[in-house]
């Protein structure tokens, strides 16, 4: 089984190739403030390093957020482009699972946290066992940043986050964490490539304002 995994939920993007449960190539790139777009070159680089073309891939796995809107869309559009260009299935996993499932994270219960801006964080609860297998216990929700430590304590969980804060483990989403997410991938199954979109975590600001003014959801279309 050959997997191409990518994630760009934070300001850092990640691409890796996994062959039969073993990470054979991985590359991280900055997603912000650059003149060029580097995630696609990183995808090509990891495939080159693995000595593979997209024809050899069995599936694509994309980090589904929440996180930075634009970065999520770049990763999502690349994942869709390869999935449709090479006729391969697309899977998605929560980006916070890619934090807890990453290398060098010890066994334990974790409250993964990602900055949601405006003094808020996305948090999600995970268990990671001795083999590294990572399972989601509670899906992502948005909370005040100052509540994160307290919420983690109430679960008996460690805080793990790309952002440095007291008593938290610093770790960013890693595409290679997909090696520890097989159970989750089997349970979720492939997504519909056309209609799939990341979990942005928030609605567009204009939509929030419109819905609050009109007291109803924005019509689709």
């Amino acid at each position: 089984m050959i997997t191409l995994a990518i994630d760009a939920s934070t300001y850092e993007g990640d691409a890796c190739v996994i062959v039969d449960g073993r990470v054979v190539a991985e590359s991280a790139v900055a997603m912000k403030g650059l003149h060029d777009e580097r995630l696609m070159p990183a995808v090509a680089d990891v495939l080159d390093e693995a000595g593979l073309t997209t024809d050899a891939i069995d599936r694509i796995v994309c980090g589904a957020g929440p996180g930075s809107f634009t970065s999520l869309r770049i990763a999502g559009a690349i994942a869709k482009g390869i999935a449709t260009g090479a006729h391969r299935p697309l899977f998605s996993v929560p980006s916070m699972a890619l934090i807890v499932g990453g290398p060098d994270v010890p066994e334990g219960r974790y409250l993964a946290a990602i900055d949601a801006l405006r003094g808020e964080c996305y948090v999600s609860l995970y268990d990671r066992d001795a083999s590294g297998r990572t399972d989601e216990l509670e899906p992502a929700r948005i909370v005040h940043a100052e509540e994160v430590a307290h919420i983690a304590e109430s679960y008996g969980a460690h805080v793990i986050s790309p952002t440095r804060s007291p008593n938290s483990i610093v770790a960013r989403p890693r595409a290679s964490a997909v090696v520890h997410l097989e159970r989750m991938l089997a349970a979720r199954g492939p997504v519909d490539v056309a209609s799939w979109e990341p979990s942005y975590g928030r609605l567009a600001e204009a939509q929030v304002r419109w819905e609050s003014t009109h007291g109803k959801p924005l019509p689709a279309g």
């Binding site: 777009e37 580097r38 070159p41 869309r73 770049i74 559009a77 869709k80 979109e197 204009a206 689709a220």
Partner: protein
């Protein structure tokens, strides 16, 4: 060469396939999905547009490929500037990955260069040299197209684009967004003469060396409409719409006529959403027909944002030997490639 074009610069998700070489081109398919949701907001909301592109880009592209038939594509052309960066990035990222997976080159194409090629897809004689007037919601450009890839910028708007002026005036007149068709309809139902607005940046004493000889400006015209609306009753909105459109069209026709005369061109090519305005096209034809100057305007489908024109401009760039690297990015603004100084 068979080129897949992808366009996501604003609120249309579009894909197209064309076959061809040089100016001998056949459009095989064109799919355009317009995002109606922005009408509610009276303008395009970038984040909503970007999200919609991500869920539209695959079905739109697959439909275009299916409509074009089984032959494999040789390259992918994608709009990478100018436009809404978040929206452009969806098309650019998807196009790069799709091309990579298919083992074909990708070429980033300037949206306004696409508009220059749009009319030639329907009118084989709409080829250089010609004077181009590109009028849309985001741009108003007057160019001398000496050859494909060789463009002399003569004039541009100093403030609002022509389409933007239509949208803003529509709002002042209580008409829906996008305003162009509504203002045109209301103007057509009314006689001119009740109101008259000055023709902006248009004076007899201007000479070709003047910086405003070809440039236009619609912000003052919009303010004049605002003042007229304030002091008029509802029944006078029709005559105001007519006076506004007369002023805008007169200005565009006159500036284009200056370009035709000074650059000695025998063809005028219109492009952009405002080229859907039949009154503008008729006024251009009326002005230029006695001089033997042909006026070409694309159909509405090719005047507004579409991927067919991007595929056509991409074909030209590919035939020049150009290819984009995998780190191709999207840019909100960028000069048209091949621009020569006036």
């Amino acid at each position: 060469m068979r080129v897949l074009g992808i366009e996501t610069s604003c609120d249309e998700t579009s894909a197209a396939v064309l076959d061809g070489a040089g100016d001998d081109v056949s459009l095989r398919s064109l799919v355009i999905l317009s995002q109606d949701v922005h009408r509610i907001f009276g303008g395009v909301v970038p984040e909503i547009a970007s999200r919609a592109h991500l869920t539209a880009v695959v079905p739109v592209t697959e439909r275009a490929l299916a409509d074009a038939g089984a032959a494999p594509i040789d390259a992918v052309a994608v709009t990478n500037a100018p436009g809404l960066v978040g929206a452009l990035l969806v098309g650019v990222s998807y196009a790069k990955a799709f091309a990579y997976a298919r083992g074909v080159p990708v070429i980033g194409v300037h949206h306004m260069e696409g508009h220059l090629f749009a009319t030639a897809l329907e009118h084989p004689a709409a080829v250089p040299p010609f004077i181009a007037l590109l009028v849309s919601g985001g741009h108003t450009l007057l160019l001398d197209v000496e050859a494909w890839g060789r463009y002399r910028l003569l004039g541009r708007t100093r403030d609002d684009a022509a389409g933007e002026a239509f949208d803003k005036v529509a709002k002042l007149l209580g008409l829906p967004y996008p305003g162009g068709p509504h203002v045109e309809r209301l103007a057509a139902a009314n006689e001119s003469g009740r109101f008259r607005f000055a023709r902006p940046m248009l004076r007899r004493d201007q000479s070709p060396g003047d910086s405003d000889f070809y440039d236009v400006s619609f912000s003052g015209l919009k303010t004049a409409v605002l003042n007229a609306v304030k002091s008029a009753d509802d029944a006078e909105r029709g005559p105001i719409a007519r006076a506004f459109q007369d002023s805008l069209i007169d200005t565009l026709v006159e500036k284009t006529a200056r370009a035709v005369a000074r650059r000695h061109r025998s063809r005028v090519v219109l492009g952009g959403g405002v080229a859907c305005n039949a009154t503008l096209v008729a006024a251009m034809r009326e002005r230029f027909a006695p001089r033997g100057v042909e006026v070409f305007a694309p159909s509405a489908r090719l005047a507004t944002d579409n991927a067919a024109m991007m595929a056509r401009a991409g074909l030209f760039r590919l035939e020049q030997g150009e290819r984009s690297p995998l780190d191709l990015n999207a840019f909100a603004s960028q000069p048209i490639p091949g621009l020569v100084s006036a």
